[in-house]
Subunit: 100 residues, 5 copies
Amino acid sequence: MQIAKVRGTVVSTLKDPSLRGVKLLLLQLVDEEGQILPIYEVAADYVGAGVNEWVLLSRGSAARKLDGSEQRPLDAAVVAIIDTVNVDNRLIYSKKDDYQ
Amino acid sequence: MQIAKVRGTVVSTLKDPSLRGVKLLLLQLVDEEGQILPIYEVAADYVGAGVNEWVLLSRGSAARKLDGSEQRPLDAAVVAIIDTVNVDNRLIYSKKDDYQ
Amino acid sequence: MQIAKVRGTVVSTLKDPSLRGVKLLLLQLVDEEGQILPIYEVAADYVGAGVNEWVLLSRGSAARKLDGSEQRPLDAAVVAIIDTVNVDNRLIYSKKDDYQ
Amino acid sequence: MQIAKVRGTVVSTLKDPSLRGVKLLLLQLVDEEGQILPIYEVAADYVGAGVNEWVLLSRGSAARKLDGSEQRPLDAAVVAIIDTVNVDNRLIYSKKDDYQ
Amino acid sequence: MQIAKVRGTVVSTLKDPSLRGVKLLLLQLVDEEGQILPIYEVAADYVGAGVNEWVLLSRGSAARKLDGSEQRPLDAAVVAIIDTVNVDNRLIYSKKDDYQ
């Protein structure tokens, strides 16, 4: 999985019928030092993530292992909202401190 | 999923029989600031997208989750026509304004 | 899918038994302006493509959706021989003109 | 698979229910000469790997072939703790020597 | 598939039980002109490839289409030992000549 920050939303009316009611977030990937990368992904949100939160992004067929998404043409999904990221015993991110 | 702009079409007579009747669009990927990237994908179109429209592109096995595509050797499909893209509460793209 | 040009062949005697009789082509990828890229793929050919022809390349599990390839350890296949590629109403490639 | 070094952990409370109890490690990839790369992956740990150990990382649907992970939205997993890496008869890494 | 050269081995004692007895080779990828690239993959060997041989590497779920590998968390496998690679009617590689 990759670490990503919620940046916005993508809205569509004309789409595959299976995608009705699926919230699509625009995520920007974060590197292992906590920097935002110029790489994004539009991902289905199943956990209720909000703008600026850091989340875990799963790609590929993993995006269809969430309840109800088995038959949807999704290749990316938010699977968790991150509380903390620790690297070498250093706290890179804490939702409590960094996100308001 | 990635955001992409419809740029053209690819036509083939000699192909796997399962691909008969499938419309193949040439898409060019768009970055998170709305710029066109030098990256393309040829994708099956199931939603009736037209040239210059912005669409959502799903890749991998997701492309075979659209009705009727289960047994086709596809690794990319247009799954939605985009109405709006919002990043940091800024409207990056609106079909109504930007597409004529 | 990606657009690719057939450049050559790969021959192997010692291989997984399921690959017996499968023709393996060396393809070089082509960009959205028709330029050959320094990226290649060795792909199973199921449509009878010849050297210098432009083809459509499917990667990943899509390569095993062609008749008879379901149980083969393939991650790339030629799924179509391209007749024409159109970008912005400009003909980037025409088999009739460019291939002899 | 890729060779990776365990660098830290990612903790999440709000997540897909299937991910409860799954330990998520932050891994940094290692190149074929043993250098740490600026590429990371957050992977499920099923083998009990510790910080600084070198492990084998499987990505994609392979991450769901570990016992109990079949229905989890995972696209990366630690599948082995590495004892030794040999390249051209040279020992690039030995757990016994390099890891304390 | 990609062309790769066998460079070494990776050994592990603590691993997913399904990987017992699976030989893991360290491969380095080769480009379309026969040059070794700074890209590697650790792949399961099912065809008995030896150091310095050129092989075909399949990645993703293809790696689990070899007999007995269906339930193993593998994302890369050697599927063939290459005899010859021909590009533009030029012999890029011949096992008989180049490998001793």
